[in-house]
């Protein structure tokens, strides 16, 4: 099924403006190479869904003006501190933030995975998050065993799931190991685009040890090989974050001009140089 294979640029083209795009957190599988391609193609009005949070990937897309709406449980750069372009966009009022909580995002995707309109979720009652969500509501246990209010979360169906994995094969099978949030994301989304550090020469589903950590090609619409495709954030089991680059990013992204310089150097210049 070689028609699966394409370029990173093509993946970015196939994520239309306005698309609902599900993204894994920085410690899971982030296709940073496609993130830069999205910026380079001038993507606009994306609705990002952090599963359950976004980090540098979200910050870069927000800074580049690609994002209209951010649905997430958090924006976190972990020990690197606050996310500068996210903070600037919130301050400028140019970003709509749909604040959620991790288990509700997972539940919403699981509802889409099952084709059901909603999923009950424990907890949440009494949180101000509820006041600002028209896609969450209060219900009750129809079997009467649990008294009191129960939060019902509407299904979250992304248009696209975009991820990076260590290993994929020619059938579109993509190995994610224990990072199984990406499995639900692939099941729930209409299309899943994958970049992979390495192409596995064989069938991942035919290997007894690799199959359990593999997203079947059935769910994968397109695939591009991209060595080091998660740079500058890390890739589980393969390589860590590029600390020097990320610190440099943070320094420059404090200001609009500094961020523009970072974009020129790492997003536009490589393209122009081709």
């Amino acid at each position: 099924m070689s028609e699966l294979f394409t370029s990173v640029e093509d993946l970015a083209e196939r994520i239309p403006n306005g698309a609902k795009v599900a993204l894994a957190p920085d410690y899971s599988g982030c296709s940073m190479v496609t993130t830069r391609a999205l910026v380079a193609r001038g993507a606009r009005d994306l609705h990002l869904i952090g599963v359950p949070s976004v980090g540098f990937q979200g910050d870069m897309l927000i800074g580049a003006g690609c994002v209209a709406t951010l649905e997430t449980a958090a924006v976190t750069l972990d020990e690197y501190g606050p996310a500068p372009r996210f903070m600037a966009a919130v301050k400028a009022g140019t970003l709509k933030v749909i604040d959620g909580t991790c288990p509700a995002i997972h539940a919403g995707l699981q509802a889409a995975e099952k084709g059901i309109p909603f999923m009950p979720v424990r907890g949440i009652v009494g949180s101000d998050l509820l006041k600002h969500r028209d896609d969450w509501t209060i219900g009750t246990d129809p079997f009467g065993e649990q008294d009191g209010p129960l939060v019902l979360v509407k299904a979250i169906r992304p248009d696209v799931t975009l991820i990076h994995v260590p290993l994929a094969d020619r059938h579109g099978n993509a190995w994610i190991g224990v990072r199984r949030e990406m499995m639900v994301m692939a099941h729930a989304a209409r299309e899943t685009f994958v970049t992979a550090d390495e192409i596995y020469d064989g069938d991942l589903l035919a290997d007894e040890q690799l199959a359990p950590g593999t997203i079947p090609g059935l769910y994968v619409s397109a695939l591009a090989k991209a060595t080091n495709g998660a740079w500058p954030v890390g890739l589980f089991g393969r390589y860590g974050p590029d600390d020097a680059h990320l610190r440099d990013y943070l320094e420059r992204a404090r200001t609009d001009a500094g961020f523009a310089g970072w974009l020129d150097e790492f997003v536009y210049a490589p393209k122009a140089a081709e």
Partner: protein, 246 residues
């Protein structure tokens, strides 16, 4: 071994005491002091305490993706967890979203993460925030990411157990819906705590000093626990334990 006890070591030992006798403690990402406390409690438990550290490859027991921590808590398999807050108020409400009139926040925090869920499900939630100022400990949070208390009709199997700061320990009295000063760390006093706490709280007639870790605890902490912590938090372990053990 140095006789001087680092402030972090006091906090770690204090939190670890709150975990003794439990079966399973989970620790969120970017939590070196709670994480160290959990590992210390495990070292003292003779192997009966299980510690799950998010963001740690060696201490994560999960194989079902990001949802598993939450499912696991709902199954009643997690006894203790840690939460912080950009703001924490006197009813133990926590705000991880921002200061100001949401959504027009003047200061934006990272977001609520799983707090709105875990706070209601995990029996012993320990609030941990080193910064103890009236800016953080406020009369009323601007946004309730997760509520400290709930109405009686709300199914709630979890909630706040204590608030540990750089100055003191508060217990939470769920019936009274108020914090009560439990102990003051060495070098701090009750007047200072009143001054830097924005919310009202109860004070018993006698407020003990937070006990410092004994020699056996310090040895364990600076030896085995320091090594284990270094796997997830190498910079923290080097700074705190190497200096203390010097």
């Amino acid at each position: 071994m140095s006789a001087e006890i680092a402030p972090e070591e006091l906090l770690i030992a204090t939190v670890a005491d709150m975990l003794d006798g439990l079966r399973h403690v989970a620790v969120g990402a970017q939590s070196p002091i709670p994480g160290s406390a959990a590992l210390l409690a495990r070292a003292r438990s003779g192997g009966s305490l299980r510690v799950s550290m998010l963001g740690s490859e060696a201490h994560s027991p999960f194989t079902d993706g990001g949802r598993e921590l939450f499912d696991c808590a709902a199954q009643g398999r997690i006894d203790a967890f840690f939460l912080g807050g950009g703001q924490i108020d006197g009813q133990a409400n926590i705000n991880l979203v921002g200061i100001g009139d949401y959504p027009d926040t003047k200061v934006r925090f990272p977001g609520s993460f799983g707090s709105a869920y875990l706070y209601l499900l995990v029996p012993r939630v320990i609030l941990f925030r080193e910064e103890h100022t009236a800016r953080v400990l406020v009369p009323k949070v601007d946004f309730i990411s997760a509520p400290g208390v709930s109405d009686e009709d709300v199914l709630r199997t979890g909630g706040p157990y204590a608030l540990v700061t750089g100055r003191c320990v508060f217990d939470f009295d769920a019936a009274a819906r108020r914090f009560r000063l439990a102990s003051v760390h060495p070098g701090h006093d009750t007047d200072e705590i009143r001054e830097h706490t924005g919310f009202d709280y109860d004070v018993p007639d006698v407020v003990p000093e937070t006990p410092v870790p004994d020699a056996a605890t310090l040895a364990l902490l600076r030896g085995r626990v320091a090594d284990e912590v270094a796997e997830t938090y190498p910079a923290f372990a080097a700074r705190v334990f190497a200096a203390a053990a010097a």
